[in-house]
């Protein structure tokens, strides 16, 4: 259990438009759903209706892409107010976003852009995570990014940066195991070392996903099945962090719900309850 008391919700899925009808019509036995915050902040139409219905039946967590916690523009409190209201409406178990920045001078690239890992950036992010957590009245959960560049001004590893951020800002972590694999490939670091460095009591959630390997680099496309190497990292994470709410992200060429759900259910074999049964 993490230090914040955020519960282990079991195995869940990212909520995607293409699966709305299936979920509402069949009530599949998913443990929970992760909704992309921005898809529901400014709509009073079908997305809002569906999310409300799903929140009546399942635990929901909110996952954002626009907080720009590492950005140098002022925090967007209009966005945060809407996010807080949405979280209250759907009884979100927690709210997460990425360790990244998304734009500058009011312009948004709508990407999860990488940060240099140095003391100045750490201080900046710690302060902003604390402000956001105070505003949302709950500890923010931060996801490790996938990235394709490293900056010359970086002075520490990503895992050291994230571990220190979590401790110094007193926030939770959403550990994206696929992102670790992707960035380890792109930047030639040891993924096991990364996982070993994570503070176990701050891991609130785990992401799994497919990706696209271009040979020279890997892009985090959230498409296709989770590869064996990522499952192996996930097994390490389970041994180290215990049972943590886990889900699969599938955002391109999304197959039928049952295919995505079956992929997510593969995570069950690594959870302690199943491991113990297997060992008995």
């Amino acid at each position: 259990m993490n230090r914040f008391g955020y519960p282990d919700l079991g195995i869940g899925l990212g909520l995607r438009t293409t699966h709305y009808s299936h979920i509402l019509g069949n009530s599949p036995p998913a443990g929970w759903f992760e909704a992309l915050s921005e898809n529901y902040l400014d709509t009073g139409g079908r997305p809002a209706f569906v999310l409300d219905k799903i929140a009546e039946r399942y635990p929901v967590v909110l996952h954002g892409v626009s907080m720009s916690i590492g950005g140098t523009d002022p925090l967007d409190f209009d966005y945060l107010r809407k996010l807080k209201a949405l979280a209250k409406r759907v009884n979100a178990r927690w709210i997460s976003d990425h360790l990244c920045w998304t734009g500058v001078a009011g312009r948004n690239a709508h990407d999860l852009l990488p940060l240099p890992y140095d003391e100045q950036t750490l201080r900046h992010c710690v302060e902003r995570v604390r402000i956001v957590s105070d505003f949302l009245e709950r500890p923010l959960v931060i996801e490790n990014p996938s990235s394709y560049v490293e900056f010359a001004q970086t002075t520490m590893s990503e895992w050291e940066f994230i571990a220190r951020l979590a401790t110094e800002a007193d926030c939770g972590l959403l550990l994206d195991v696929n992102n670790i694999y992707v960035s380890a490939f792109n930047h030639s670091f040891d993924a096991d070392e990364y996982i070993d460095a994570m503070p176990a009591d701050r891991i609130v959630q785990i992401h799994l996903a497919g990706h696209t390997n271009h040979g020279t680099h890997i892009i985090d496309t959230h498409t296709g099945h989770v590869i064996d190497e990522v499952w192996s990292l996930y097994a390490d994470a389970c041994r180290r962090f215990g049972d943590v709410s886990t889900m699969v992200e599938w955002d391109a060429d999304i197959p039928e719900f049952d295919v995505v759900f079956a992929e997510a259910l593969k995570a069950a074999v690594y959870r302690s309850d199943v491991r113990e049964v297997a060992c008995a």
Partner: protein, 259 residues
């Protein structure tokens, strides 16, 4: 941090990449990629993301233009109108005006873009409660002229120089899209049970609905209508219009002026 972010954002969104030595001062090489190749990953993804976002909102415009022209117009558009919102849903708000300014002879295309923008707006509007079908009939006869009908929020009224709705239907039916001949058309786009509905109209009913939705009382709307068409609406057509509009769920409340 600010300097680095300003530089990198500019490098990602600019039409051309920055000089390689400029990139190499800030970004390290990987085992397999030079600094500028690593930056290009972000540049390429930005262009794809913008095009995908606009194609989601303007699929028929994209189909009418074709992939090549749509790609180029999107690149030009996001240079002029970069996203300034936390959501990509607002990226295309200025697209119809941009098409009108940059492709001034493509009138049917402008109309089609206005139609698709209205559809996205209606899709996301706040839900409104609907008035009961008998609510209008229950208004006392001496108050009917002072009656004001409040439209639902998820309603847009559009008049076109070209049959934009027919063009959009060709796209929906996966039929070949050809620029149609000029012909004035009118359309109400609204949402019912969370579905976006396109309701073709004729000029007289559209004019009356536009007056009503503009806030006119029924009495004032009839006077304005008569001034425009040189005759008041017939009672039977007025009755049929309100019956159809109420059945379609276009109104959320009745107000009586002066009460």
């Amino acid at each position: 941090m600010r300097e680095l972010q300003t530089w990198m954002h500019g490098a990602i969104v600019a039409p051309k990449p920055p000089p390689a030595d400029d990139v190499a001062r800030r970004i390290l090489p990987s085992r397999t990629l030079a600094p500028e190749q690593r930056l290009d990953i972000y540049r390429d993804m930005y262009a794809i993301r913008m095009e995908e976002a606009l194609e989601v909102d303007y699929p028929a415009v994209a189909a009418l233009l074709g992939h090549h022209d749509f790609h180029h117009i999107v690149n030009a558009y996001v240079q002029r109108h970069p996203s300034v919102s936390y959501t990509l849903n607002r990226l295309g708000d200025a697209f119809p005006q941009f098409l009108a300014a940059t492709m001034p002879r493509r009138h049917a295309l402008h109309d089609l873009a206005r139609l698709e923008l209205a559809m996205t707006q209606v899709f996301d509007e706040e839900e409104s409660p609907l008035i009961d079908a008998n609510a209008i009939a229950a208004v006392p006869a001496d108050e009917v002229a002072s009656m004001r009908l409040v439209p639902i929020r998820a309603l847009r009224l559009l008049s076109f120089d070209y049959p934009a709705n027919d063009l959009f239907q060709l796209f929906r039916d996966d039929e070949p899209m050809r620029t149609p001949r000029r012909k004035p058309t009118w359309l109400a786009i609204h949402r019912r049970d969370y579905s976006v509905i396109r309701l073709p109209m004729e000029s007289r009913s559209f004019a009356m609905l536009e007056l009503i939705c503009g806030g006119a009382t029924l009495g004032d709307a009839v006077v304005a209508f008569a001034s425009r068409f040189d005759e008041p609406p017939r009672q039977d057509e007025l009755f049929a219009w309100f019956r159809d509009w109420t059945a379609a769920g276009l109104f959320t409340a009745i107000e009586i002026e002066g009460t």
